[in-house]
């Protein structure tokens, strides 16, 4: 498929399209919403229905891929194709479904040899619960950082609908891993309290039968908790609740959800063995990143420490003295276990798993968990930069977020800014209007699902530069 001519949208109604003819509409930016268009037949009377294929695409590569050939891991139903027959024209086609796109392919499968179709008044009604006008653009003095911020803001805006969605194209639902980062990005920008509170109550109010917090909730019907559980995501319920309180000081929500948070901590602690280390059992899954090839034991230990620390602050807030003492003792043991059994003092790095694998994710999460002193944290990250940089084979902006924050938190400002510009900047250079769910600079065509076209190209967990820039660079936001 080649875009033969670029025309002004006002010229659309001067085109007539017959069998196998196509036109691509470019909205000029990424939007989420509903599409309608007027159609009429020209030439002879319409002696057959119009058979029309529409395809809604976030990035140009989706236009080129043929959905019929899709063979990825996720459902083909996520590809934003519509096929429809229109028995009579003129007609205004108003599509009921919501799409996430910048490009709209109008692909005329057939009219008849005797008539063609003419399109006019294409209308895309964009929707979001966030208003970009309310957010002051950053002025970092660095054009690339400013552009990264703009793209990040658009990403966050388009993922803010009735709930925080992970991606408006695919999944379109509330995921805990995304929620935690979206909420932080939101505090620094749109600052919508209601949506975060709403999402927290959904997770707290809809646990699985055994009390565990689900990874995600379906919200387009009556809310339904999914039946999947990630070790890290469950703990991030505690973390999101703690972040929410820190920002809004809204104690009522903590009062209501404290027991849910405690249950989640208890559930996570069941994975701790007699040596005070997290040890995976059969049904444990720790996400961390879409690269599934590195060991996650040490990440899990660090994330447990990270969340438990936040939980203890909630216990103090709730004045649960017994809980404070109980969990503080556990926290100390987890930290000691990590320092004594997982840290390789020769290398100055943490290892992970039985094979003593050294990977970047373990160092990052141990930095974020502040297991070491600030000085030792800085040294740990020095060693990580020396031995594990440049970062490679990390698949998601989600994990890059944690690496960049770990750099800032361990006093590596310039490395942090450099990595952020290299990583998110490379998406910007690649034409991103919104940041992508998955991006491995070493392999830009990679997909966790075996097909690039099923990836979400506006994904919540990728919007975090808007938080990072305001917190660590312009310092206009301090949680």
């Amino acid at each position: 498929m080649a875009q033969e001519k670029i025309k002004n949208i006002m010229a659309l109604s001067s085109l007539t399209l017959g069998k196998n003819e196509q036109v691509i509409l470019d909205l000029g930016d990424h939007y989420v919403g509903h599409f309608s268009i007027d159609m009429k037949s020209v030439d002879s009377p319409m002696d057959a229905p119009l058979f029309l294929h529409l395809k809604f695409c976030e990035i140009p590569i989706e236009l080129v891929e043929n959905s019929d050939d899709y063979d990825g891991l996720l459902s083909k139903s996520w590809l934003q194709d519509e096929y429809m027959h229109l028995d009579t024209l003129p007609q205004t086609l108003e599509l009921e479904r919501r799409y996430s796109c910048r490009y709209i392919l109008l692909d005329v499968i057939d009219t008849s040899p005797k008539w063609k179709v003419q399109f006019s008044n294409p209308t895309f009604v964009a929707q979001s619960s966030a208003d970009l006008k309310k957010v002051k653009p950053v002025k970092t003095g660095d054009k690339m950082l400013d552009r990264i911020d703009q793209v990040g803001l658009k990403t966050l805006q388009d993922c803010m609908q009735r709930v925080f969605e992970d991606g408006p194209k695919r999944d379109r639902r509330l995921w805990l891993g995304d929620l935690r980062l979206q909420a932080l990005a939101n505090y620094a920008t749109f600052d919508d309290q209601n949506i975060v509170r709403h999402c927290l109550y959904l997770f707290g109010g809809l646990p699985a039968e055994d009390g565990r917090i689900t990874t995600n909730i379906f919200t387009s019907t009556e809310p339904i908790p999914d039946d999947t559980f990630f070790y890290d995501y469950g703990l991030f319920f505690v973390s999101t609740l703690s972040d929410y309180y820190e920002h809004f000081k809204d104690k009522q929500v903590v009062d209501d959800l404290y027991e849910s948070a405690k249950n989640e901590i208890e559930s996570a602690l069941q994975a701790v063995n007699e040596n005070d280390l997290v040890e995976f059992k059969q049904d444990f899954f720790v996400f961390v990143d879409w690269n599934m090839d590195f060991d996650r034991h040490t990440c899990a230990q660090a994330i447990l420490i990270y969340a438990l620390r936040q939980f203890i602050s909630l216990a103090k807030l709730e004045d649960k003295q017994e809980d404070v003492l109980h969990y503080q003792a556990i926290l100390n043991k987890l930290i000691t276990g990590a320092k004594e059994q997982l840290f390789d003092s020769n290398q100055g790095l943490f290892w992970s798993g039985e094979d003593h694998e050294v990977n970047i994710a373990s160092q990052v999460w141990m930095v974020l968990a502040h297991v070491l002193s600030d000085d030792d944290n800085k040294k740990l990250m020095d060693n990580a930069i020396e031995k594990l940089f440049p970062v490679h084979d990390i698949a998601t902006p989600y994990m890059y977020h944690h690496i960049v924050v770990a750099l800032f938190e361990s006093d590596h400002y310039h490395d942090a800014v450099k990595l952020m510009k290299e990583y998110w900047g490379k998406m910007v250079d690649g034409g991103a209007d919104t940041f992508w769910e998955s991006f491995n600079p070493d392999d830009p065509a990679a997909s966790p699902y075996g097909s690039l076209s099923i990836n979400s190209f506006c994904h919540a967990w990728s919007c975090t530069p808007v938080f990072i820039i305001r917190k660590y660079i312009t310092k206009e936001y301090d949680k």
Copy 2:
């Protein structure tokens, strides 16, 4: 595609279908109408839309053909496929469009690996403006003729909607060639006066700019006359008007449409040359049959005589003495011209065109036009049977109708019944629930459009055995 198991429809809701799984519903007979079905998801929560393909088929071969491979002459949009995404379940899918079918394929393109779809309450609301209960089935004493009559009645019923449609699957509109035969079949069975009158007024009221009667009218919007003209179909407006008056004696309609009929005769007479023979000019098209390989000059001459004879009877009815004399003189010249210039007395057959081609259609139409005396008509058909039978390379039940009627009208009862049983009977033996638009016994997979799947398998012009049987066999109907 193989139908693995045949189950009772009550078992439908016990099936769960995932990616690439299919089930075919069999309505047990051919129907025209609207379909709805309930759907719900089973197993894990629905974590992706349902992507469903439905295909509505009149005969089983349409189920086997892949619509994607269709490459026929007519628009692909006529294939009765629907592709749809359902974002949430449970849901009742109520399809807006009307379908013509016996078989409904539910083809699950994708659910997701985590859930499947379950169907229940499939509902097909059939529609027709004709009530089969009002028609007494014939009892010919011949099981095959009785079955042919049943299938013909179902065909006519399913083509009787707001207007007489040519085929409820494809075209779905009012064609003059079909209307003439449908009206006759209707007089012998359902006997609905309003629908014929309505159709006559549509044609008479919506001529082309030059006054000519169109071949067909689009009726699913405000009525629109098509921009195609067939020599024979135009004349059949006169014929249909005359048949209508003969049956109902409703002179008002003739009063209203006499001038339209006269215009059509005048237009047709422009094709007559100085030798009193129809001579084709560039933009003339004479349909007669979908086999386009035989010469049509003599058919056209005969059809003009046939219609002119009926027009003169209308002129007498309207007491237009001048018209009667004028057109009677022309009729005489056309008959003389035919007998003197087109009849080969050596062979005892009519030839056609410059190459003096002898074909079955010319003999049949000359018999129907009663150009010869009854005795000579009988001899003409004797010669046709001897030299041109068995009939071959005739593509449509429409032309077979005229052959069979010509046999009856020329006193060849047994040959007529034999041919009817051989031809329509072969469709019955092939499992026809309704009679097909096109059927060449020498080449059953043939299509006038280059693809069998685009053929209409319930087609108005094929229903005429219900008229023929009642008029010529049981003689319970006499126009």
